[in-house]
């Protein structure tokens, strides 16, 4: 086919309506995924007893706030990566803050906890459910995000997928924290981070294949 003919057919193919932005699609698909996650949460997990009272304690509230503080800049950075040639978002610097605070809280909790209790608080009693639940809650959001990102054009599909995974994993951890009764940062700083990181790895693997264009 001659290039001129191709240009003619592309021009004829132009829809009259402006295309929806990647950001708009991402919000729509992420909302759909989050709806599914909330459904899973309601069916299998549910709110912890005395949730409002527990969230009054800043160390407990951090369990919910820190993942959110990671999820939002991760989402912004990942959407920016879907635009070829765009400068990386400054939000990527903000992503480092929650892990640093979590590590600080975890170390602080280790220091103020009596040695006899440390192991029990670190392992907790819900470790077998924690990781799996966060991944399960994250998957619908991750899939939704990836569907939206396929309309984008990331120069680095793996990196973009990893950030989508971090965002989905962190949103899922924030949701899961409303069920979880392990309130020691020694527990959540480690196991939540591991779960979020796993979803990031899943996102990187999926993005590597699925976000090529």
């Amino acid at each position: 086919m001659k290039t001129d003919d191709l240009i003619d057919s592309l021009t004829a193919d132009l829809p009259a309506a402006p295309p929806r932005s990647i950001e708009m699609r991402a919000v729509q698909w992420l909302t759909l995924g989050a709806g599914l996650a909330v459904l899973i949460f309601g069916l299998f997990l549910g709110f912890r007893p005395a949730l409002a009272a527990a969230l009054g304690d800043p160390v407990v509230a951090a369990k919910t706030v820190l993942p959110l503080a990671l999820a939002i800049p991760a989402l912004i950075s990942c959407l920016r990566l879907a635009h070829p040639g765009a400068d990386p978002s400054r939000a990527r610097y903000a992503m480092w803050l929650p892990p640093v605070i979590a590590a600080t809280l975890g170390i602080g909790a280790y220091l103020v906890t009596r040695p006899a209790l440390r192991w029990d608080l670190f392992i907790g009693s819900s470790i077998d459910i924690c990781g799996r639940a966060i991944v399960a809650l994250a998957l619908p959001m991750l899939v939704g995000l990836l569907i939206a990102l396929r309309r984008g054009a990331p120069m680095h599909p793996t990196r973009c997928g990893a950030l989508a995974g971090l965002a989905a994993g962190a949103f899922a951890a924030a949701l899961y924290s409303l069920f979880c009764t392990e309130d020691s940062p020694m527990f959540y700083a480690v196991w939540y981070s591991l779960a979020i990181g796993s979803v990031g790895a899943i996102g990187a693997l999926l993005g590597r294949k699925q976000l090529r264009w």
């Binding site: 635009h83 040639g85 309309r151």
Partner: protein, 203 residues
């Protein structure tokens, strides 16, 4: 590169994204030569595919046109797409096939020591040239001396020796090929395709 060009592109692409086909056609026709220039430079290792890559890039621009953020310059966006697609084309190129020659030992014909009369024939052909061309051709072509050394011997510049050498070669080739085959490939040049060999073979 120029702000002028970029603001024109931005204006056209903005109108195109709102559904203006005329602006869109202008935009695509405007960027095509620029894309072609980059592809020619980047994909030299992939000859015959240049225009295919240009068309692939135009298709990518078409399907990803919503990823340009109004307000951003168009050129970095476009060049990122071009770069991505060039790398992609390079990755997708057909794999280079290597066949060990030992496996074909039974199939390939042993070329033998070559045509023993060839050297004598060449000598006779060179005799037919004027003396200076013959000397240069013997020195550079047969003995393998450098153009500089030969030039010093004949009191000529290096460039003049090269020119004389190539003219002498061309004359030899014409003598060998006869008048109707003057555009024959020079001897020793690799043939990429042997499929149409029958058409160009000499009687």
């Amino acid at each position: 590169m120029s702000d002028d060009r970029d603001s024109r592109w931005a204006d056209l692409l903005r109108r195109a994204n709102k559904g203006d086909p005329v602006a869109y056609g202008l935009f695509l026709r405007d960027i095509t030569p620029v894309i072609r220039g980059i592809v020619d430079r980047r994909a030299r290792a992939l000859p015959h595919e240049g225009e295919d890559i240009v068309q692939t890039i135009l298709l990518a621009v078409h399907s990803k046109r919503a990823t340009w953020r109004d307000g951003d310059p168009v050129a970095p966006w476009l060049f990122a797409i071009v770069r991505y697609k060039c790398v992609d084309a390079w990755r997708r190129r057909p794999p280079h096939v290597d066949t060990p020659v030992e496996d074909l030992a039974d199939v390939l014909v042993d070329p033998g020591p070559g045509d023993v009369t060839a050297a004598r024939d060449l000598d006779r052909l060179i005799e037919g040239l004027d003396p200076r061309s013959a000397t240069i051709l013997r020195a550079v072509g047969v003995e393998g001396a450098s153009a500089r050394v030969t030039g010093q011997r004949l009191n000529m510049s290096e460039g003049a020796v090269r020119v004389a050498f190539h003219r002498a070669l061309a004359r030899l080739r014409r003598t060998v090929a006869g008048p109707q085959n003057t555009d024959e490939d020079p001897p020793g040049r690799r043939h990429d395709s042997t499929a149409d060999d029958g058409g160009t073979r000499r009687e």
